[in-house]
């Protein structure tokens, strides 16, 4: 029983790390643009399919596949920004959201057109046996996922708090009008934030797909839902909150799966979100105003 509890916690933390990355990407875009990007997951799926396609046709090493995933996601993200967000700047929130939903469909159509089979194998991160510590096992790919997620967080922190670009991103997030009065070029920041968030999403997507060893077009929906859920659990718009929300979501799923079975796993997360929203816990409303 205790062994299972610890094992579930380890599993939950490692998938939670991927959720945290997805939530970070969402939060960056939401914080800066004040708009939810519904095609975020679809862009990640597109990036992962770029890598799958390359692998099928040319074969490629893990690192190259990761790089292609990130590049593909950034490309797709830039396309989304140009089409959905740049034209509606300062304008309607709904327009940008609906447009980004339309692009989600576009990405799915494109991917199923070029690669019509529902499921493709994806080169696994690691194929050896899991590491054993007494009664506990730790999958190496889960460990890599956790490590990579932490590295990506650290890199993001460094970017936001130690660079000139990071200063601009924080200023725009806090007070867009004052940021442009300070001489910060807002469109320039928006495009780069989109690229950065997409790159983080690409890393998350690659880790998830590589640790599952397979990919389906559902990845788009899955990434958007998990990212949104983790972002909301962590309190809309806060970066540390996104990390906490992601880890909490991973832990919640791992434990509820053990207690209640896999069918109820997803339901529990939605239920929790519903309860938190209904109860209006203070941290879920802090940054959404103003």
């Amino acid at each position: 029983m205790l062994a299972d509890l610890i094992q579930n916690t380890l599993d939950g933390l490692s998938i939670g790390a991927a959720y945290a990355l997805l939530a970070l990407g969402f939060t960056l875009i939401f914080g800066v643009l004040r708009r939810a990007n519904l095609s975020y997951g679809a862009a990640i799926m597109f990036g992962c399919y770029c890598a799958t396609w390359t692998h099928l046709n040319f074969g490629a090493g893990l690192l190259l596949l990761a790089a292609i995933t990130v590049a593909g996601t950034v490309l797709a993200g830039a396309y989304v920004e140009r089409l959905c967000f740049a034209p509606h700047r300062g304008g309607s929130m709904i327009a940008a959201m609906v447009a980004s939903f339309a692009l989600w469909m576009q990405f799915e159509e494109l991917v199923t057109l070029v690669m019509p089979t529902h499921l493709y194998a994806f080169p696994a991160l690691y194929e050896g046996a899991p590491l054993a510590f007494g009664p506990y096992t730790l999958r190496v790919d889960a460990l890599v996922m956790f490590g990579a997620a932490i590295a990506a967080c650290a890199l993001l922190w460094g970017t936001l708090y130690r660079t000139r670009f990071g200063l601009a991103v924080r200023a725009v997030t806090e007070q867009p009008a004052a940021a442009s009065l300070a001489g910060i070029n807002l469109p320039w920041v928006y495009v780069r934030v989109f690229a950065l968030a997409s790159a983080i999403g690409g890393v998350a997507g690659y880790l998830v797909v590589a640790s599952h060893g397979q990919i389906t077009p559902m990845l788009g929906m899955w990434s958007t839902l998990k990212g949104l859920l983790a972002m909301m659990l962590g309190g809309l718009g806060s970066l540390p909150g996104a990390v906490v929300g992601g880890l909490a979501l991973g832990l919640l799923e791992a434990h509820s799966q053990w207690f209640l079975g896999p069918q109820l796993r997803d339901l529990i997360a939605y239920l929790l979100l519903f309860v938190l929203l209904a109860a209006r816990v203070p941290w879920m409303h802090t940054r959404s105003a103003s």
Partner: protein
């Protein structure tokens, strides 16, 4: 030649025109004050000059170059900085980071560091609070920070939108002392003020804006002599 020349500017929010053809000029090296009742279009005018709002019609030239319709960061680069209404500091950033953001376009790190020292000398409270989040400062301190942040871009023209709004009388005096000091250092100043008594002590030229139109332009002397304005903005206590 005037430093800032605004000609027949019309700025609208949707169908509502907040500026209905405003023309005015600010002389280089001067302190110019824009007076006007609530909702007259003062903030709209400042935001239009700074590029946050785009004029629907008319021209704005700064130092002989057309700036109407340009992006705000471009206008900052040309030497115009606005201290916005309600200050709008970056609350979760430190005082130092707020100042660095004000110098965002400048590449000369050394000169920026010197300017930060200069700001700290001018505003000692900011030095004490350098590592503190701007949101924790008092209203007066936030106003000092907003002014210092604007100065970090080394503007030739400083625009200020109601710098004394909501501040205690002593702090208001401090703000006006700083305006006079900045002017002595060679910065031209164009500011919005509802406190005409204080403005009379520093400004060399006044404009009055009412319902989106300039209704008076003149020296402090002319302003004080105008019966209607005196009644509306200076009260009868002056007589």
């Amino acid at each position: 030649m005037s430093l800032l020349k605004i000609q027949d500017v019309v700025t609208a929010y949707g169908k509502i025109e907040a500026l209905k053809g405003v023309s005015l000029e600010v002389a280089p090296g001067s302190i110019t004050c824009l007076l006007g009742p609530n909702g007259a279009g003062k903030t709209t005018l400042m935001m239009t000059v700074a590029g946050i709002l785009k004029p629907r019609k008319g021209g704005i030239s700064f130092a002989g170059e057309e700036i109407a319709g340009r992006a705000p960061h471009d206008i900052v680069a040309r030497g115009v900085a606005l201290v916005p209404e309600n200050r709008l500091v970056f609350p979760a950033m430190t005082v130092l980071e707020n100042l660095l953001a004000g110098a965002y376009q400048r590449g000369d790190k050394k000169a920026v560091a010197e300017d930060i020292d200069r700001m700290y000398a001018r505003f000692p409270r900011l030095r004490e609070r350098s590592a503190q989040h701007a949101g924790t400062l008092s209203g007066g301190e936030q106003q000092m920070l907003a002014v210092a942040r604007a100065l970090m871009s080394r503007p030739r023209l400083l625009l200020m939108d109601e710098p004394s709004l909501g501040l205690a009388p002593l702090v208001v005096e401090e703000i006006f002392r700083i305006i006079a000091e900045l002017h002595r250092d060679g910065v031209s100043i164009f500011f919005v003020e509802q406190n005409a008594h204080m403005a009379l002590k520093v400004a060399q030229h006044f404009f009055l804006i009412e319902q989106g139109r300039i209704s008076f332009s003149g020296t402090p002397g002319a302003l004080a002599e105008d019966e209607v304005i005196r009644r509306a903005y200076l009260g009868s206590a002056q007589q």
